[in-house]
Symmetry: C2
Subunit: 238 residues, 2 copies
DNA sequence: CGTAGTCTTGAATGACCTCAAACGCTGTGG
DNA sequence: CCACAGCGTTTGAGGTCATTCAAGACTACG
């Protein structure tokens, strides 16, 4: 049997912000930990939601698939974020797939437990409201971007977002800290992997990024921002 | 001074579902009614949210404007729906403009009152969670559509959505029950009014729709669904 | 060392946008 | 009541961004 997780992991999770130690302990008691190796699906679109999830460690990709098989990456989940909870608040069916893109550790709360916890601790419901609200906002922004911007700017925006969420300083600049393919970026921005590849190649030759197999390093974040904001390109160097 | 609104109007509003008569009365006491003539802005993007709103009668358009002035229609609000509440749950700034597209009557609750009501009646918070969850889902679907579908299908989807929300049976078919310009449809689907016009013209010549100045009637909803789902076109008639 | 998955790059096509002009309603003011 | 101005709409022509089709190179892994 897996050891009950350390309550400390819940600290810093926005969903449980503002709860006292007792409440946190109660929350932890209901949680079930699950190790998920890279590449493993955690749940699938259309399934009945048996549980809500929170990521302790690793990285999870949320992908929605359309009727004709077209895929869209809705978001990447990092440590401390919850996922798969939307189903609990709405019709009970997961609206997307969740797949671990790195070896991950997740906690899950059975739907019933989640409901009980929210009833007993209204702060959780309020936190959830804030979180879902923030996400709605973010998706609305992406909708605006996809609707009005050209591909290059959208790719720039996507990378900037990823850097904010999962950027890690390295010698050459800032690295996106998980495996990210051109296909992934294409599915985040509503384009094809070909166009992403061409765009990254162009940026590479301008020294803005360095990228390879499932890996992207941003060397000049400001240049990327300039592209995203459609500012005049910066002077060749500096 | 305007008369305090009839509590009956709140019945049927998802946000206040499940509240008893006393609670409803309390909610009503905090509400302030406001008549809004067609064309009038109710709030503007970037403003601090002074209040949350619910529409009693009429129709309101929610439009987000990007840094370069590009506009995207986020949704149309009909009677019974709340709007402008996202700001309350997040950073306090309205993320979009709201404009009455028909003469309208709205109720508003000052932010502070809204918070108090939610604390006193957790059911409201839970309802809000469901509503925001549903919207998040819907926006995610639109994001997928805009990212993966061609313009014609997107326009078909948009019209179908509008018919569901605001369709009214008329002799010729189903009419979208408020003034809707090509520009509006373009801003809902991430295209230009020109393309929308061409598309509607084509559909008109196939007898699928009838449309004119700020007005659309769908004559063959099933044909529109066929286009949206990318099925083979139906036989010429019937 | 072979194989599968990822990435790159070229060439051709095409969907849609941009630019441009004109038309027709609708409401308004003379 | 009519004329006109304004707005929403239509339609054509041309251009272009990005997709599609196609082939090959690279890399990781078994």
């Amino acid at each position: 049997m897996p050891p009950s997780p350390d309550p400390a992991v819940l600290r810093g999770m926005p969903l449980f912000a503002g709860l006292d130690a007792d409440a946190l302990a109660e929350v932890v008691r209901h949680a079930r930990p699950r190790r998920v190796p890279k590449g493993t699906p955690i749940f699938s679109q259309g399934e009945t939601a048996a549980a809500g999830h929170a990521l302790i460690d690793g990285r999870v990709k949320i992908v929605q698939t359309g009727p004709d098989g077209q895929q869209v990456v809705m978001r990447f989940i990092g440590p401390g974020e919850m996922f798969g909870t939307l189903a609990i608040f709405t019709d009970g069916l997961y609206p997307a797939d969740a797949v671990a893109v790195s070896d991950s550790l997740a906690l899950s709360w059975p739907t019933a437990a989640m409901t009980v916890l929210m009833e007993r601790h209204p702060a959780i419901a309020m936190n959830a409201l804030t979180i879902v609200g923030d996400r709605l906002r973010e998706v609305q922004n992406r909708l605006r971007e996809v609707s009005t911007e050209r591909v290059e700017r959208r790719i720039a925006h996507a990378l900037i977002r990823l850097v904010r969420q999962a950027g890690r300083r390295v010698e050459a600049g800032v690295e996106i800290d998980f495996p990210l393919s051109r296909q992934d970026v294409a599915e985040m921005t509503g384009t094809t992997l070909h166009t992403v590849s061409r765009t990254l190649s162009a940026w590479e030759s301008q020294g803005i990024v360095e990228s390879g197999r499932q890996q992207v390093v941003i060397r000049k974040p400001h240049a990327l921002v300039a592209i995203a904001e459609d500012l005049p390109p910066l002077r060749p160097d500096r």
